[in-house]
């Protein structure tokens, strides 16, 4: 029986389908397993690193392993990451920000208070401003709720979204390309009117109303069906890429893929 985390990994891997020869970056266990799964199933042309500096053609498994177990096929250190991957648009990143709003603006820097004295300091904007203006991005959230999918706007706009009020006239926003949002409840995209967020598939046992009530802004109902369950082949690959079962700790209580079975 597949778990919800495994269903999410498969759903996330769809974000990387047909992306071409670009760097697929999944930050966190589910996005990373998704990128590896995509490369090993439907999109072999994807490129990825070992999480440190080397390009690998065999995705490296999560968790403890021999340092030299990776087999470098190429080299992409941080020292040339912007030159090669980010600022050339040859990348698709899937990440988990702390907040996201209806415009797809994301925050992982700070919450509450002021910029001089935030109530809660988080990571800082990292590479999100550059990622979001230069290459495609998708998101994974393990706990879909109104504190993540906020009403209004995020506390600190760390990544570019589709908010017209934030766009200085004359700037080039043509590469802003937010793709999928996968959560523990559903799959969404930005395919509504003016890039509005819409729900395109519901995980087994979840209703649109469940999703809407867990979201701080109005969603478009564009549900085409149920998010597919992982196949035996996909589960086998996921298991191989995650030999220490780190994926079991991603979603609270590691529930089964079908909600009513929980």
């Amino acid at each position: 029986m597949a778990t919800l985390a495994e269903l999410c990994i498969v759903a996330c891997s769809e974000a990387f389908r047909g992306n071409g020869e670009i760097i697929a970056t999944g930050v966190g266990p589910v996005p990373r397993l998704a990128a590896g799964l995509a490369k090993l199933t439907h999109s072999a042309e994807l490129m990825m690193t070992d999480g440190e500096a080397y390009l690998v053609e065999d995705p490296v498994p999560l968790g403890p392993r021999g340092y030299d177990d990776r087999k470098p096929a190429g080299y992409l250190p941080f020292s040339r990451f912007f030159d090669s991957a980010v600022w050339t648009g040859r990348r698709h990143a899937m990440v988990t920000p702390t907040q996201i709003d209806r415009f797809g603006q994301i925050n992982l820097s700070q919450m509450g208070g002021t910029h001089k004295q935030p109530k809660t300091q988080m990571l800082g904007v990292r590479g999100f401003p550059g990622n979001t203006i230069y290459h495609p991005n998708s998101f994974f959230f393990p706990a879909h709720g109104p504190r993540v999918f906020v009403e209004g706007e995020v506390d600190m706009v760390s990544g570019v979204g589709y908010n017209p009020a934030k766009r200085i006239a004359g700037g080039n926003y043509t590469a802003v390309d937010l793709r999928l949002i996968v959560t523990n409840l559903c799959v969404m995209d930005f395919g509504g009117m003016d890039n509005a967020v819409r729900v395109v598939s519901l995980h087994p046992g979840v209703t649109f109303d469940d999703v809407q009530s867990a979201t701080g802004f109005t969603l478009v109902d564009a549900v085409q069906g149920e998010t597919p369950l992982p196949t035996a082949e996909q589960l086998e690959i996921i298991n191989r890429l995650d030999p220490h079962n780190i994926r079991t700790s991603v979603i609270k209580d590691n529930p089964p893929a079908h909600r009513s079975m929980g």
């Binding site: 440190e52 500096a53 600022w87 910029h115 904007v125 700037g171």
Partner: protein, 292 residues
């Protein structure tokens, strides 16, 4: 022969209050921690610190050395949120210029080439420009594009920890990734380098590895040999990050939560004292490399 050897105390003596100091490395990796500790032992104050931050930033903030921080993140990797940095931020203790990781290196490059700024799209559509007072510039060509003018991050001094150097400052940097150390060196008026291994003449010892000389000795002001000098950060391929030490450091931010009570443990009265407290440089060399 040109001899740039000096002690870490002599390096710190060349710094002064209010200076802008860049620190090489990335998060908990390749940080010149011995030089950072030397600053903490000194009377220096009101510094502007420019770094891809890890415990270097957390410690300097905790020790009250930082007036302003220029950063894109501060993190210890496996401990994502640097606890002493958080404390300083949440107390409103430091001024900040928050930048994207790519803009940050762009600002170092602008400084390296003595340009006032370099244009970029990065920052548009986010809060960075408004919060950081970053201005825009218009392309003078037919496209007329509006871009962010990323100001030069001119450094009074840069601190780096490298794999090797010779007395003249011919450095070798290797390991999986050397991050933006080259650009910190070029953005700075003076660059002080600690190294794992110091030799008299590089050409007599490692002539076959000259490609590891990723920036030239004209960008090096002083060198000092401090084996284990990146501890608790990593220095591949020699040693990994000391996560046990980072955890103790992170725990101390909660309990007792007062830097003055714990600075002896994390800084020491001298570098020898610090090294003795962690089991000597032999212990540092045995720390396994990180798996990402």
């Amino acid at each position: 022969m040109l001899d740039k050897r000096m002690s870490s105390a002599e390096m710190v003596a060349q710094l002064s209050d209010g200076m802008t100091i860049g620190i090489g490395g990335w998060g908990p990796r390749r940080k010149p921690m011995a030089l950072v500790r030397e600053i903490i032992r000194s009377d220096l104050k009101d510094l502007t610190i420019v770094a891809y931050g890890g415990a270097d930033v957390g410690m300097l903030c905790a020790a009250g050395k930082v007036k302003k921080l220029v950063f894109a993140f501060v993190s210890l990797d496996a401990i994502p949120l640097e606890p002493w940095f958080r404390k300083a931020r949440e107390a409103g203790q430091v001024e900040v210029l928050e930048l994207d990781e790519g803009m940050f290196q762009w600002g170092l490059k602008a400084a390296a080439f003595d340009l006032p700024f370099l244009p970029t799209r990065v920052g548009l559509g986010t809060d960075l420009a408004e919060l950081g007072g970053l201005k825009t510039v218009q392309s003078p060509y037919a496209d007329g594009e509006i871009l962010i003018a990323m100001p030069a991050l001119k450094l009074d001094a840069a601190l780096l920890h490298v794999n090797r150097s010779d007395w003249r400052g011919n450095v070798h940097l290797f390991g999986a990734d050397v991050y933006y150390d080259e650009w910190f060196a070029k953005a700075a008026s003076k660059t002080f380098v600690s190294c794992e291994e110091l030799v008299d003449r590089m050409e007599d010892h490692y002539p076959e590895q000259a490609q590891a000389n990723i920036f030239e000795r004209c960008f090096v002001t002083g060198v000092v040999e401090i084996a284990g000098g990146a501890h608790p950060s990593s220095m591949p391929p020699l040693y990994g990050p000391d996560m046990k030490a980072f955890k103790a450091y992170a725990d101390a931010a909660r309990e007792p939560g007062n830097w003055l009570e714990v600075s002896d443990r994390f800084v020491g009265a001298s570098e020898a004292d610090y090294l003795a407290g962690i089991g000597g440089k032999e212990a540092v060399m045995q720390t396994p490399l990180a798996i990402y």
